[in-house]
Amino acid sequence: MVDITKLRDIAKEVISRDDVRQVIGYRPGTYGFRARPAFVLEPADADELIFSPACINNLATYIVIEEKLPVPRGQEPDSRKVAVMVKGCDSRAIIQQLEEKAYDRDHVLVLGIPCEGVVDMDKVNARFPNVDKGDIALEGDKFVISFNGTKEEVAKDELLADKCKRCRYPTPLVSDEMLGDEVERFADDDFSDVEVLEKKSRDEKWAYWEEKFSRCARCYACRNACPMCYCEDCVLTRLEPMWMRRSVDISENTAYHIARAYHLAGRCIQCGACEQACPMDIPLMDLNRKFYKDVRELFDYEPGTDAEQPPLLSTFSVDDREDFIL
């Protein structure tokens, strides 16, 4: 587990450095069990930083979504580092961003948080509805939920996010400073969930996805929450050429989800930010995981594990499979 005092001390030390612009971490949320992103600009801000199983957001997104506004004449652009706290999965986003040369390694200062799993907020809210303020802590194999003076223990498995049940990299793969002791891998990924969907008949598959896609509101939360979706001019919303229309119907929604998932083929690092952001509960990870599985099986490639390897689709092997070609 991460020691909060140590975390705050390190954050204070880091933000006091001349070459660091901000530290991105977590702070308590405004209601229920939530935690929310914190942007530490001066040492005093660091006192509200926390880390708990409620810290579900992937902060690597903030490194890449910052607008690059024109700098007034006579001023230099702020080239100081961004320090960011990352869990195991989030660290893979940074590796993948580095692999794609989204920024230089010098641009970020990575504060690694060895993570024993975070909760699925939907599961928590279903189990403890209408709690206006509460806390979640992980103790051994139990989540301790405290609110309104009561304390309840729940088995870890019941509230753990699905992505954590398959997590193979709980300890960050890249870090400049580690905020806790290494966590040993406690889960493995057998893709049984993808296989269940793969085994459905074609009609069942379309019926399944048609229902999910048709309720999509096209709010673009899945795209914007994704640490890998940082194109300034996104294919999903560009007007010329207009790949998919802004109108919302099953055709455009399907096109949207195919294109979104395809653009993450060989890039998705399984952090689950898209699915967590979706207000309509569309199982977006099921789409991403199909690519993840295929990429691993067909090309023996795992995104976000090695910043030196070339991006999957900008390379090839002469021996790639071609039994589907006429």
Partner: protein, 338 residues
């Protein structure tokens, strides 16, 4: 008009009778509740908190055709909203109904929007009072509403345990209750409803003082507070698309076949980077800071200064659904302090 009773085992029958209209009711899609047209009473899911997308989409659809055109033909084929027929929205929450009467002010302001207004007039609104607040983030009592508010509704239902109390609130509502008269019984208890209303209002946990906010916000144009509250914004459209009072739209032409197409309007969100993007490439709201400022200012300052009503009904959707826990009440608190 006296309060009637609709026994819960007769709701199905009543819904069946209402199906001679276009009947819209909350229904489940997996675990998400959405309003949609139903063709079977069993689809209706009335024991719900609140829908993910507010029922405004039935009157102001996310995508709607305005007219169709064919190259070479000088005549446009305009959309005839009347063809959609009389609609009944069944079981909507009082805040969402109040939102409709707020949005009305915009759509019959300087331009009478025929699509919206016709559809509005053809729709009967049957509300479902909140005996329990649907979420922890409900704050309707702070912005002029209440869990039993009847504003914008034609009929109000109140869950009394084994029956619904049915109150027709106006002529339109009375007409509707007449169509299901055979399912109704006399003897609803008005006093008990009032008691429940007071109790429900007391259960709302969150609040904000709105006095003076609409005057204060314009003075903060250059304030640092916006940078602070927008730092964690992802720039998605969740807060605006799921807001019952947000009403911004974009108009686009879509070509369907050679030389044939339609002009349609679709929801737009001020949180999108394309929202104010000029053809020149210049964007007067270049970052999330300006966009957040606009969203809050529009709801709590621009709209009230024009229409005397805060464009927020306190449903709490934007708080509940925000992926990064940006909280409008938290923003307003910081604005007051700034």
């Amino acid at each position: 008009m006296a309060v009637k009773k609709l026994s819960k085992d007769k709701v199905g029958e009543a819904l069946k009778e209402l199906m001679k209209f276009r009947l819209v009711a909350p229904a489940k899609s997996d675990d998400v509740v959405i309003f949609k047209q139903i063709s079977d009473p069993a689809e209706a899911y009335l024991d719900y908190g609140n829908s993910a997308v507010p029922p405004k989409k039935m009157v102001f659809p996310q995508t709607e055709t305005l007219f169709r055109f064919v190259t070479g033909e000088p005549e446009l084929k305009e959309k005839n909203v009347e063809e959609e027929g009389q609609t009944v929205i069944f079981g909507m929450r009082p805040c969402d109904a109040r939102a409709m009467s707020i949005v009305d002010k915009l759509f019959d302001w300087d331009f009478d929007d025929p699509y919206y207004q016709k559809r509005r007039a053809m729709t009967t609104y049957v509300g479902m009072a909140c005996t329990e607040p649907p979420s922890v983030n409900c704050f309707c009592t702070s912005v002029g509403g209440s869990p039993f508010s009847t504003e914008g509704l034609d009929v109000m239902l109140t869950d009394m345990g084994d029956y619904y109390a049915v109150q027709a609130l106006n002529e339109k509502g009375e007409k509707l209750t007449e169509t299901i008269a055979s399912q109704l019984e006399d003897g609803g208890d008005e006093k008990k409803i009032e008691e429940m209303a007071a109790a429900a209002a007391g259960k709302i946990k969150r609040s904000i003082k709105t006095d003076g906010i609409s005057e204060k916000i314009p003075t903060l144009w250059d304030s640092d507070v916006w940078k602070k509250v927008s730092a964690s914004c992802l720039g998605c459209g969740t807060c605006t698309f799921l807001c019952p009072t947000c009403h911004c739209f974009d108009i686009q032409d879509e070509v369907e076949e050679m030389g044939e197409g339609r002009r349609c309007r679709m929801w737009d969100s001020c949180m999108f980077s394309e929202y104010t993007l000029h053809a020149s490439g210049h964007n007067p709201r270049p970052s999330r800071k300006e966009r957040t400022r606009n969203r809050v200012s529009h709801k709590y300052s621009y709209f009230p200064s024009k229409f005397d009503d805060i464009a927020c009904v306190g449903c709490g959707r934007c708080i509940n659904m925000c992926p990064v826990n940006i909280d409008i009440l938290d923003i307003l608190e910081q604005v007051v302090e700034a």
